[in-house]
Symmetry: C2
Subunit: 315 residues, 2 copies
């Protein structure tokens, strides 16, 4: 999967990921009317809006971008009906040959992590295998340590899929824990080093975990989430994780642009997927040339603009 993903990024000349994080505010009026009319004021109506909206976005961008990243929280907030829209969104994206990164940020201890790993690894029922969610990649939280990651690595290897571990997130308070400086307790890989930050410690763990799941192009199936909003840390993390593909949130609506990402890419201009959500899916609301009937067209133009911006920093 990491090899296939890299090949597709090269073919398209574009490392842009389209984040599918629908909100009520983002829905076109005509979709609201249609679905509220059909299903009443219900979570089902909202879920059907999200799914129809995502299809419009996907139709606009599937031949330009290598991947989409649905944020499961947006769907989970609508209960079972919402998660059904999440699943159908993934199925539709895959029918258009897009890679799908499920932004699920799960993390738990071993037997429970093994259950969550079904997202990429599938689930066995009395000897038969099922693929209940169908993501190619998922995001994972490292707070519980190796126990919580190992089942995902096994699933990634078994099915040739992958994970992105949260290392340095894009939000304002990410430093409260992630930027704390360690006193250091020795030089073993399992211990902290004096002067190191928590996120650097996590980066070394990610590099170690990735050594168990290498692809053939020099990158592993264990990637890292590194926020575009922290350019210096991103460059430092590229040094610490030379074999790790980065999933980079925070571009666009959260404030970062291409020039902030110079240090995130490797010398060949590879090694990153850059996500934009509202900047692409909500583009139709920000430009007077578009109406509520141009969700896909506006998304397409936003992806092309982002491709150009990123090409400038890929060396």
């Amino acid at each position: 999967m990491i090899d296939g993903l890299m090949k597709r990024i090269d073919e398209l000349g574009n490392p842009t990921v389209v984040g599918l994080d629908p909100t009520p505010e983002m829905m076109p009026e005509h979709l609201k009317e249609e679905m509220l009319g059909r299903y009443g004021k219900t979570p089902k109506a909202m879920a059907e809006m999200y799914l129809a909206f995502n299809r419009m976005v996907i139709d606009g961008i599937y031949d330009l971008a290598p991947a989409v990243k649905p944020q499961i929280a947006m769907y989970e907030s609508l209960g079972i009906e919402g998660l059904n829209a999440y699943f159908e969104t993934i199925s539709y994206a895959k029918s258009k040959s897009l890679s799908v990164i499920g932004d699920i940020k799960r993390g738990d201890i071993s037997s429970t992590a093994a259950a969550y790993a079904c997202h990429i690894g599938g689930v066995e029922v009395d000897g038969e295998w099922f693929d209940p969610w169908k993501e190619d990649w998922v995001t994972v939280n490292p707070y519980l340590g190796t126990d919580g990651i190992q089942p995902f690595i096994e699933a990634a290897n078994r099915r040739d899929r992958g994970i992105f571990v949260l290392v340095k997130t894009s939000n304002p308070s990410s430093g409260e824990l992630q930027d704390l400086t360690l006193a250091g307790e020795g030089e073993k890989a399992s211990e902290g080093r004096a002067g190191e930050k928590v996120y650097e410690r996590v980066a070394r763990l990610v590099d170690h975990w990735g050594s168990q799941a290498m692809g053939s192009q020099g990158y592993s199936k264990v990637g890292a989430v590194v926020g575009a909003t922290y350019p210096e840390q991103g460059a430092r993390l590229r040094e610490l994780m030379p074999r790790t593909f980065f999933l980079v949130p925070g571009y666009g609506a959260q404030g970062a642009s291409g020039k902030d990402l110079k240090g995130f890419f490797d010398r060949d201009g590879r090694g990153c997927l850059v996500n934009s959500s509202r900047g692409i899916t909500g583009a139709y609301q920000k430009d007077k040339r578009f109406s509520q009937f141009h969700v896909g067209e506006a998304a397409r133009e936003a992806v092309l603009r982002m491709k150009e911006d990123l090409a400038n920093v890929q060396g």
Copy 2:
């Protein structure tokens, strides 16, 4: 909710939480035959087994224990059908007046955290409110800092529900990040202190977050997950978080017993909920007096045994 929960623990004289983490290995043969016969080898069959099994457990314990804790991963691994069983399990538990702690360990940045907070806060659709998951409490991951917690605190206050933040988890590798020693960068609440562990830093944040959501009995709606498998750290954390209710996993199958928990309770023998999953729900498999038709009876006896064991350390 924190006040009501404490009152119920006092009434029952029992801080035991029954973990509802079903696995295929735990299912009685007669349930397997029934559901595989009815639904074939499908995730739906397994989900129906889990739900029927949970009802047997709940019927056995609802008048002895204050709360149940379904682990959402076990259900999520079966896709939409599994999550339906999760929801129906919660509904059934609440119909029996049990408090429900959704063990979901979610964590994300602000707008996304707000979406996840629907688990306790509900969701609004065009002016109408819905309760898509119905948990009274959920577990939350702190790796993203205050941004990721604030929306849950707002939901907890709005609906009088609560959260348990992961502080020191029960698994073997929890120390990889949580036990790292900090170099210290000052004495402001937002910074690390020299010599402090990461989990102690998180504990101070939890104490601070809790100050925004106090109940009337001296405890807040922001609780902490503290593993029973780390008795020394538990006692230390009780000192650091005097107003914080502890949700304590790791009792029973994971190796800890009542004597390990002395320091977790406060001087009045309050302040903790202690979870056991397999030790209660799988009790019917471990005692020759019980058959596959005695899931509830065996669970009931296991809860009574645990109540007695915990009474010895509650002062």
